[in-house]
Assembly symmetry: C2
Homo-oligomer: 352 residues x 2
DNA sequence: GTACAGTGTCGAAGCGCTTCGACTGTCCCA
DNA sequence: TGGGACAGTCGAAGCGCTTCGACACTGTAC
């Protein structure tokens, strides 16, 4: 039962070869493989031996053609390098793993190609389902799929989800949790340091939801709050910190939604005498490993990439099985690590 | 000539539908699409109109089956989150873009599944070529493909490349360039701060080549040199910097091959009075944007991800066209930004 | 006027698989 | 003791495409 090593270029063995080898009909081999009909133990054994002996693997194209199912999930991912790269990667990893666990493969589609690409995939039957990451408030790309019945799962929530399944962290709730944490500690003036301006300009769904949640949470808690987009790069961050400290000196707590800027931000604050958490509190939205790797471990709501990815695949599979899924927002969890504390009201009390 | 919007679930139009619509034979439609035979302008126009009217897109599975070519490149990528994530992403982006430009799609395969996965892809005819990122010195996964004639391109160079095509930055030369830069400036004691120990333990090809190049370059230039793996995390980096400064106080120049640790490293050095570049020179190996975003912009050899990715796809396409490619190592380019300077021999001259 | 090379088009034969209906036994229960 | 139910297997049709050889023309050259 040694598996023959096949040179590519030799004709690959087909189901007919296996059938001949095992002395059965091709359809029987197919049924052994799919389990869709009962097979006697003896026959099964002979077929499996034949498969092993020939090193047979079913041809994906033929299978797709005959069964009208590709066992492929198309994953639409943004491959900008400006944002969030590690988080994107975590999503991709989680989704790929989940797909493999269900015997699906992943076709990678780069976002920011036009809608024709998706049509090509869907109408060319290149995949059985579509998972779209990083959805923006408006996604013209997806319009042609609306109501088509083709299984689509969005990671993120567009303005009009329609009948698309959506999964995501509840960014609005996450922002509220961050704000509430600062409010409980006694902060009265806070600021949101968000992603680069480009992200807002694109209308990126999660960034907007986080911002809106921040503003709503602050309003409810009666806090003064402002929002700032944070450009990356050490000098930019320093300049923006200076501007913030100058223009809004009362701010004692920051909510940061910008992983890339965190190291620079912490350095800038310390060098300006605003040590964290004594003289500036920070609550961040970022992956756990990033929160922990900072010079001051950060209180943070983590982005549950693995959970979101898993759920996205589950929803896709559900749709393949005929269920329809709605919007799912995963609840945020704040991990306290010590970067937020009660404010020292130095500016107010006066201090030598 | 309005393209009809198709509901998925409606039977998708086939080449036969288009043929009927245009009043020609299916094979004629096929030849219009492939351009493999001459077609009169009139017929072509009618066929194209029919295609547009029906919104026809060829079925990928059927096409693959009939033509024995999938128009898919399988990309084997590591999705660990411990290393190099942005760089990996740049490779993936570059490869995906290049593939699309050649009308190929990308099937994403996660590394660290067993060899059966690759066999499934190759023998199941799921892809026409394979690009493998992050290759290690020994890749048992690839053994079954050796000599098979299936187009394989490696990003990185294993110990025994055999007939696999390989592309990569010339990491050994890159290390030498870094060492030479420090040597020219007058440094005599240098250290390499490399990636996490796990990367060396895995036998990751590029890390080993960089290290070997570093040691060889230092030997040639007559420098004292040591090698240290750098664990990520702020505290680990601080501890390791302390150890270095204690155990090898004469070191005045660092070669850093560890993007993730750079912010922490710079912070640690400054807080220990070893400002860069005055009291410690640094030359790094990292992407340009990362080098520029540091608190001190770094002299760095960048990883030409886009070039490597492009070349990888070109080599894959070349193999599909019957050419065989060998190893290609791209020359390193050092970008000077001011993080390396002549050493102040403070420890030697004594200074108040 | 016949031969001959194109040129443009068609029909049919697969590519390798799944799946449906049909067929042959067995077994069990009426 | 006959018949239905069921397990196990087979053969053939067909999924939608590509591609090969054949065929009908149209010119052009002798």
């Amino acid at each position: 039962m040694t598996e023959q090593s096949l040179a590519y270029g030799d004709r690959m063995p087909t189901i007919a070869d296996v059938a001949r080898e095992a002395g059965v009909a091709p359809s029987t081999v197919s049924y052994v493989l799919s389990g869709k009909r009962a097979i006697s133990p003896g026959t099964r054994a002979r077929v499996e031996a034949g498969i092993a002996r020939l090193g047979y693997r079913p041809n994906a194209g033929a299978r797709a053609l005959a069964s009208a199912s590709t066992k492929i999930v198309a994953l639409v991912a943004p491959l900008r390098t400006d944002i969030n790269v590690p988080v994107i990667m975590q999503f991709v990893a989680a989704i790929a793993l989940q797909c493999r666990a269900r015997d699906y493969d992943v076709l990678l589609v780069i976002k920011d190609e036009g809608p024709e690409v998706l049509d090509r995939i869907v109408q060319g039957s290149m995949a059985d389902a579509l998972i779209v990451m990083d959805v923006e408030a408006h996604e013209p790309r997806l319009e042609s799929l609306r109501g088509s019945g083709f299984p689509v799962v969005l990671i993120g929530v567009p303005e009009t989800p329609g009948d698309f399944s959506c999964v995501d962290l509840d960014f609005a709730a996450a922002a509220r949790v961050c704000v509430e944490r600062l409010a409980e500690l006694g902060h009265r003036d806070i600021a949101l340091l968000g992603p680069t301006p480009a992200v807002y300009e694109r209308g990126t769904s999660y960034a907007l939801r986080f911002r809106d949640g921040f503003e709503a949470g602050a309003a409810e808690a009666g806090l003064r709050a402002s929002v700032h987009a944070l450009s990356p790069g050490h000098h930019e961050v320093e300049a923006q910190v200076d501007a913030l400290l100058r223009d809004e000196p009362e701010v004692t707590g920051l909510v940061v939604h910008n992983e890339a800027a965190l190291p620079a931000l912490l350095t800038a604050l310390r060098s300006r005498g605003r040590d964290v958490p004594e003289r500036m509190s920070i609550v961040a939205l970022c992956p756990d490993d990033i929160a922990e790797a900072q010079s001051v471990p950060l209180d943070a709501v983590s982005i549950p990439a693995a959970d979101v990815g898993r759920r996205a695949v589950e929803l896709a599979m559900g749709q393949l099985a005929g269920q329809l899924g709605g919007q799912e927002l995963l609840p945020p969890h704040l991990q306290v690590r010590g970067s937020a504390a009660e404010p020292h009201r130095v500016e107010v009390t006066g201090r030598p």
